[in-house]
Amino acid sequence: MSDGWVPSERARERAAFRRAQHRRALAVAAVATAVVLAAVVAVVTTAPGWERAREAFFSPQRAWEVLPEVAEGLWLNLRVWVVASVVGLVIGLALAVLRTSRIPALFPARMLTVLYVDVFRGVPVLLVLLLVGFGLPALRLEWLPTSAAFLGGLAILLTYTAYLAEIFRSGIESVHPSQVAAARSLGLTRGQAVRKVVLPQAVRNVTAPVASMLVSLQKDSGLISILGAVDAIRAAQIATTGDYNFTPYVVAGVLFLLISIPLTRLVDAWSARQGWRGSLRGVSGAGVVR
């Protein structure tokens, strides 16, 4: 990194070659994209039913009319999503720690955790939703809220917590035992080693799968409409009755995408920034390969 460095003829040639290569790559990508888009537009717009489909699904006027109702429904989805995410993350992590702990007194709790995870990962979400939505109120528990949003959220939470617990468990098991050995060798207790050494690494190792679970949870929050909660999907459904114009569904779909796509990108960027510290890579192995 000396200051007087002037690129040699060779270095300039290489740089010029790389620039030319880069320009060509951009051109190829642009042409390929244009061709594919043109093909899609051609196929769709020449389809015999296109005129009617456009009216029924993509009516701008209808979209504008229903936007407030659908957006208000989406607000419910978002609230269910945030609450279920936070509670699911906390309980999922706790269950994973419980399942990997070796404290004898916790043996029954461990067994229950295994049973819970097996059952809720094995049963379709839809079924859990129906059982919780119609089964729990039948018990007539005074203290239990019976709103469709609450019961639907609870059902989704039960399913997703089981998945999150499994993901966190795989994260805990991915931390090499030599890390625990190093921590214990320093005199840390088992609990300290788990809290300060294993869990931070475990959580980093699974940020990507956990994040994709949360994105998928955001989407599945729409299932509460089955129990009658007026979320984005239910609002769209109500709006379609009568005129058989399905534009509201498209509006709901676009709104879901407007949330989930930026969310995915955000999480990718975040875990790219965090994740590289998750594991020890050799210094020489971390470069960019041509």
């Binding site: 050995a181 190093a182 060798s185 005199g187 510290r277 020890l280």
Partner: protein, 260 residues
């Protein structure tokens, strides 16, 4: 029980008596067991440095792990200050807090900065306030030549720097017994010289050491006693001059010949 320090001569800090350790040869309950330590007797006197040598797989790392209570023994005694710490009712965390180990593969914590790696035990185990622990940590890092790497993460260090960070992490608590597993394997000759000086200083300050190494020059300079392990047993022991320069037994000679 075991005799306490004798008036003349150094006191034995660590004694191994007839230590046996086996590992399963494979997964499952029907797997056989392979004997790695087959009745080891070993004394490490206070302020002394004992060096373990032996071919790869001879059990050097296993022996260090047994002393650090990271492995249970099948039989025998691990006496630290006369107390058999292999007994399961002994508080192993308290014992480990008195010892320190530098691992062959460093085992730094990748999610913590170098300084946090070094100060983790002082803060959690010795309950020192953070500022106090960080002062001690920075001093120790300066001592191993890593003063400017305190804020770096382990994966941003070269192999030799990681090794020295691991040494700093082990030393910062002022251990009574330092267990070193191949601490010079990733260092160039210049750094080996520096680590050697550091170890000699430490010994002069009273730290007791048990060291496993493949480098006979290093062993020659740092050891008070050299112990050659073979077939799970102590095959030959003595001063560096005795064992490394005038070995008595054929297997030791062969081992040293192969190294050249």
């Amino acid at each position: 029980m075991i005799a306490r320090p004798t008036p003349d001569g150094p006191a034995p800090l660590l004694r191994l008596r007839d230590v046996r350790k086996t590992f399963p040869t494979g997964p499952g309950r029907r797997a056989g067991r392979r004997t790695v330590l087959d009745g080891i007797d070993l004394d490490v006197d206070e302020h002394r440095c004992v060096v373990l040598v032996g071919s790869s797989g001879s059990g050097k790392s296993t022996l260090l792990r047994v002393v650090d209570l990271l492995e249970d023994v099948d039989d025998g005694q691990v006496l630290l200050d006369g107390v058999d710490v292999a007994d399961p009712w002994v508080d192993a965390d308290a014992v480990r807090a008195r010892l320190a180990m530098v691992f062959q593969s460093y085992n730094l914590f990748p999610h913590l900065s170098v300084l946090d790696n070094v100060t983790l035990a002082p803060r959690l185990v010795h309950r020192r306030p953070r500022s106090d622990a960080e002062d001690a940590g920075r001093q120790m890092l300066a001592r191993v030549g890593l003063a400017d790497k305190a804020a770096s993460y382990p994966d941003q260090l070269s192999g030799g720097e990681q090794q020295r960070a691991a040494i700093a992490r082990a030393l910062v608590g002022g251990p009574e017994l330092l267990l070193l597993d191949e601490v010079t394997s990733a260092l160039d000759p210049e750094l080996v010289g520096e680590v050697l000086d550091l170890l000699l200083d430490l010994r002069a300050e009273g730290t007791t050491m048990l060291v496993a190494t493949h480098e006979m020059d290093f062993a020659r300079q740092v050891a008070d006693e050299v112990v050659f392990l073979h077939d799970g047993r102590v095959h030959e022991r003595g001063t560096p001059a005795e064992v490394l320069d005038a070995p008595q037994r054929e297997r030791t000679r062969e081992f040293l010949r192969r190294l050249r």
